[in-house]
C-alpha cells in the first residue's frame, strides 16, 4: 500500500536490504506473492520491553511473526536497575537482531526522590545515550509537574534531545498545564483516555499514540479522533504487553485489527502503524514500500486477521504463517553481569517484616482495587480482622543499604503466606505482601530470600515453602526463557496466589508492581516508607 492510501498491483524489486523499485526486474530470485496484500512492516510507536518479561531476542522472535519489525522502546526499568550500561547492553544485543529496535533515553530515573533505584540518569547520562549510543529520542517525560513548573534540571534534560523526539506522558493534562508542557518541548503522548483529551492534544500539535496494552486499553475511547479528523499525527502503540497477550492477541497487528473493528478504514489503520510512527520517530528508512526504504515487507493472504503469511525484514524472509524461519533470529543474550541485580548485605529475617501496629490500631493503609492503578489512602484499624488488611514491605535491593519500608495494604484478599516481586516500578526494589497474621513475616522473609537466590522474579510462598515462581534473572525484570515458558510460569504463579493464598484481586503481581511507584495517586510505599503522593511527602503509618 503506497502513500496515496490506494492498493496498487505491482512487482516489488528488492536489492539487498532495500526496496529498489516497482515493476518487473531481472532478479536473482523471485517470490510469487500473487494475490497477497503487501504492507510495510509495522512500527510500534511506544513500548517497554520489560513489560513483556522477555529479553530482546525472545521478544523479537515473538513479534516478528505478527508483523512488527520496529519499535520505539523506553527501557526505563532497565535504566532504574543498571543505568546507562544496562541500556547500552540492551542496544548491543538488539543490534544483532533482524529488527529496528529504537531505544529512547529514559527521562525520569528515578521517578521521584522517594525511590531508591540502582542508578540515576541526569542530563549528562541522557546526552551520553543520545550522542554516543544512538538513542532515537527522549522517552516518555513522566515528570510533568517538573516540566510545567520549569524545573531547570528537567528542562536541561529536554534540551539534550536537540532535533530528536521528546516523548511525553501527560494523563489528563489540559489547558494551561498542557500548553506549558508542550511549550517546554514535549511532543507526544500515549496516556490519553478520553476523546476530548486526545482532541485537545492533537489540536495543539501533539503526536497521539493510541495505546492498546495488556491492562490499559484506550483504542475504543480514542478512535473517534481518527474517524473525525483523520490520521495526522496519530499512531498506535502497545506500551505494556504481557507474554500472554503477545501469544494470544498479537502485537501492533492487534492494534490494527482493533482499529478496523472500531470503524477505521483499513488504509488509515495501517498508516498509524507504518508511515506515521516511522515519521514520528524519524525512522526515515521505514514505513513505506517505496524505493530507498528498507525492505520490511508484510504479505497478507487476507486483511481480516492481520496475521501476515510472510514477513520480510531488510529483504530477508524471517517468518512464515506465524512461525520464525529457522536461524532467522540469532541468540543475543544479555551480558553476565545483568544476571546479578539482587544485592542484599544480609537476608532479612521474619522480624524485619513485623511492623508493630500503631497505638489504637488506626493506620494509613494503601487501598487497591481491581482494574485500577490508582490507590486510595485508607485509614483502618489494622488490628481488627474485619479490616482485611495485609502487610506490605519494600526491601532495597540495589545498594545493600538494608533499608526496608513497612506498611499495610487493603484489597489483595491475601490471608495466608506471602507474595513478592523484584518487578516493582520504578526503582524495582523487592516488594512483598504478607498475611496480617503471624504467618506473614516468616513467609515474607522466605519469599525475599528466594528472590535473592534466583536473582529476581516473582514468587508465592506459604508455610515456608515456595508454591510457584517466575524466574526473572535479567535485572530481576526479564526471563531468559521462551515466551511460552514465561507465560506458563506466570499462569501457574497467579493460580497459586489465588488458590493457595486467598488472593481475590485480579492480576495481584501487576498490582504489587505498581505500589512502589511514588508518582501515582494516592498512597504508595518505597524502601524509605509510606509516600503520600498527594502531598508529595513521606508520611507516618500511624493515622493521627
Amino acid at each position: 500500500m503506497p502513500g496515496t492510501r490506494e492498493w496498487v498491483t505491482t512487482d516489488l524489486a528488492i536489492a539487498d536490504s532495500t526496496i529498489a523499485g516497482w515493476g518487473p526486474r531481472e532478479a536473482r530470485e523471485t517470490v510469487d506473492l500473487s494475490g497477497a496484500a503487501l504492507t510495510p512492516g509495522f512500527v510500534d510507536a511506544h513500548m517497554h520491553l520489560e513489560s513483556t518479561k522477555l529479553w530482546v531476542d525472545e521478544f523479537v522472535g515473538a513479534v516478528l511473526p505478527h508483523g512488527t519489525t520496529a519499535v520505539a522502546a523506553d527501557p526505563h526499568e532497565i535504566a532504574n536497575v543498571f543505568g546507562v550500561p544496562g541500556v547500552v547492553a540492551l542496544a548491543q544485543a538488539a543490534s544483532k537482531l533482524p529488527f529496528t529496535f529504537g531505544i529512547c533515553a529514559p527521562s525520569c530515573v528515578p521517578a521521584s526522590h522517594f525511590e531508591s533505584p540502582g542508578a540515576e540518569l541526569g542530563s549528562l547520562e541522557l546526552a551520553e545515550l543520545l550522542d554516543e549510543h544512538d538513542a532515537i529520542g527522549i522517552a516518555e517525560f513522566m515528570d510533568f509537574p517538573g516540566v510545567t513548573s520549569g524545573n531547570p534540571e528537567v528542562l536541561a534534560k529536554i534540551a539534550t534531545a536537540g532535533h530528536k523526539r521528546v516523548d511525553g506522558h501527560a494523563p489528563g493534562l489540559s489547558g494551561r498545564q498542557l500548553d506549558a508542557y508542550l511549550a517546554a518541548g514535549v511532543e507526544s503522548d500515549h496516556e490519553c483516555t478520553e476523546l476530548e483529551e486526545a482532541e485537545e492534544k492533537r489540536r495543539k500539535g501533539m503526536w497521539i499514540f493510541i495505546r492498546e496494552g495488556s491492562a490499559s486499553r484506550n483504542l475504543a475511547a480514542l478512535i473517534g479522533t481518527v474517524l473525525l479528523h483523520g490520521t495526522d499525527r496519530v499512531a498506535l502503540c502497545t506500551d505494556d504487553r504481557e507474554p500472554e497477550t503477545l501469544l494470544h492477541s498479537g502485537h501492533a497487528n492487534d492494534c490494527v485489527r482493533l482499529a478496523v473493528a472500531a470503524g477505521a478504514r483499513v488504509e488509515d489503520a495501517l498508516v498509524m502503524v507504518k508511515s506515521n510512527p516511522a515519521e514520528s520517530h524519524h525512522f526515515d528508512h521505514l514505513g513505506w514500500l517505496a524505493p530507498a526504504y528498507q525492505a520490511d515487507v508484510l504479505c497478507f493472504d487476507n486483511l481480516s486477521s492481520f496475521e501476515p503469511a510472510r514477513v520480510f525484514q531488510a529483504g530477508k524472509l524471517v517468518a512464515i504463517n506465524g512461525a520464525i524461519m529457522p536461524g532467522a533470529v540469532p541468540t543475543a543474550g544479555p551480558p553476565q553481569w545483568m544476571r546479578s541485580s539482587v544485592h542484599l548485605e544480609t537476608l532479612p529475617g521474619p522480624s524485619a517484616f513485623d511492623l508493630v501496629p500503631p497505638l489504637g490500631g488506626r493506620a494509613h493503609v494503601i487501598g487497591i482495587e481491581s482494574r485500577s492503578l490508582t490507590t486510595r489512602d485508607l485509614v483502618l484499624d489494622v488490628t481488627d480482622p474485619a479490616s482485611e488488611v495485609a502487610r506490605i514491605a519494600v526491601v532495597e535491593r540495589h545498594r545493600r543499604t538494608g533499608r526496608i519500608g513497612l506498611g499495610y495494604a487493603h484489597g489483595f484478599g491475601l490471608t495466608h503466606g506471602a507474595i513478592a516481586s523484584t518487578v516493582a516500578h520504578d526503582a524495582h526494589n523487592c516488594m512483598a505482601v504478607g498475611a496480617i497474621d503471624s504467618s506473614g513475616p516468616p513467609d515474607m522473609a522466605v519469599a525475599v530470600a528466594r528472590l535473592a537466590e534466583i536473582g529476581g522474579g516473582q514468587v508465592a510462598v506459604r508455610d515456608g515453602h515456595v508454591l510457584a515462581e517466575v524466574r526473572l534473572p535479567i535485572g530481576g525484570l526479564m526471563s531468559d526463557r521462551s515466551i511460552k515458558e514465561v507465560s506458563e510460569e506466570m499462569r501457574v504463579l497467579a493460580d497459586a496466589a489465588l488458590n493457595g493464598l486467598g488472593v481475590t484481586i485480579d492480576a495481584p503481581f501487576m498490582q504489587l508492581s505498581f505500589l512502589g511507584l511514588s508518582v501515582l495517586p494516592e498512597l504508595r510505599i518505597t524502601d524509605k516508607g509510606l509516600v503520600d503522593v498527594m502531598k508529595f511527602a513521606l508520611t507516618d503509618v500511624a493515622a493521627t
Copy 2:
C-alpha cells in the same frame, strides 16, 4: 486552524517569539482579533530568490504582507556566480530579517561541463554549507542522469545531506529511472506537469511540491492528486516568481487561492503551505499555531482573497493590510564585493560578434517558441533573410577568459539592434542577441559594454544607444532597488524590445536567460560554443 483541520475559537497567548498556549492569559498587551481567522505563516516549499530579481530584504518586505514567513530557497544562481561565499553572504543578510529564510545547498553547480560559471560546488562545498552554514538540505538535484547512472561524485553529494532533505528535480521521470533516482536518496520533486506523474511519485513516497511560478504553472493539472488522495506529502511552491507576479498576484497565498479555486478544501489548501512544507524541510518550529511553535501568525478578515489583514512574525506585528509596518524589515544589503561580478579583460568590439556564415549558409539554429523553454535544433540558411534568424553570443564574464561563443537563434523576431543579459542560466555569463544585419554586432558590443559598466543586468540597444535597461548589480542577477522600481524597469525594457527592436516573442529576456542552460533540450549555446544537448556534446554551427 489546528492540526485537526477544524476551526477553533480561542485566544492565543504569545510569549516573546513563541506561542505559549491557547485561552486567556494575564498579558502585557492584548490584541483584539475577534472574528479573524488565524493561520500559521505560510511556507514556500521551493523557490529561487534570484528569480524575483530582488535582494533578500526587499523580497522579504514584498512577501511578508502576503503572509509568507518562511521559504526553502535554492540560491543556485548566486552559487554559480560567487560560489560558497555568495550563498553565505545571502544567509548572513537573511539572518537579520524577520523571516525564516531556509537555504538549500545548490547541488548542480555547474549544470554541466559545457558551462563556465564563476564557481563550482563539489561535495566538499556542499558539506561546508550543510555543516558550517546551517543549510537546511540539498537543493533540487537537476542532474538526474548523474543520479540514476550512479555517478560516484553525484552520489557523494547526496551523501553529504545526512538526515537533511534532498530535494529533487525530475521532470517526467517515471518507472525504473524514477525508482533509481529515489533509491539514491532524492526525496522531493517540484517539476511534475501531469497528474499521473505526480500520482506515481507520491505512491513511491516522494514529496510533491506543486508549482505555481510566473511561467510554469502546474496547479490546475496537479490538484487532482490532492482531491483524490489528500494532502500527505504534498506542498505548494512558487519556484520562480517575477516581481510583477509578486506585486499583482502575491506569493504562497496566491497558491492557496488557486488551490481552493481548483476545488481543494480551504483547510487542505492551508495544510499545503503550513505544516506540510514545514515538516518536509524540518522547520520543526513552524507550521502550527500550537504551544512551542514560533508565533508566525496570519489574521484574515475573510478567506476569499487570502490576503492577511495582519501578519505577525515571531510574535511581532510586521504587516497590516498589505503594507509592511515601518521599521519592521531592516535594510540588510549585500557585501560590496557582490556588486562586482562582470569581469572582462577587454570589452569585445563589434568584430567579436561578427560570425561568418558557413559555406552555403546552412547552420544549426536555436529555435525558440513562446511559452516553452524547450528549444529546437533547426537547420536554416542564415544568409537568407526569409529565415528570420538573429545572432546570439555568450561572453564569459567571470574569469576574464575572453571566451565568446557565437551562433544563431530563430524565433525572437528581433530585426534591429540587440538585447543582452547577465541573467543567463546557469552560469550567468553575458548573453546577447543581435540583428542579423550589420547593425547587430556593434549594438551587441554596446549592450555588453553597458552591462559591464552597470555591473550586470538586462539591456536593449539600438543604433548604439541604450533604449532601456534593468540594473542588476548584485551578482548581475539582482537589483538593489524596490520591487516597484524593478517591476517598472522590466516593463519598460520589455516594451523597448517589442516596440524598438521588432521582438515578437513573449518574455524575450526570460527566453534569452535559458538559452545557455546546457541541460535542457535540444540546442543551447555557452561561451564554449553550440551544445547539442541530445548528444550532450559541443557541435559546429555549420550544418553538414
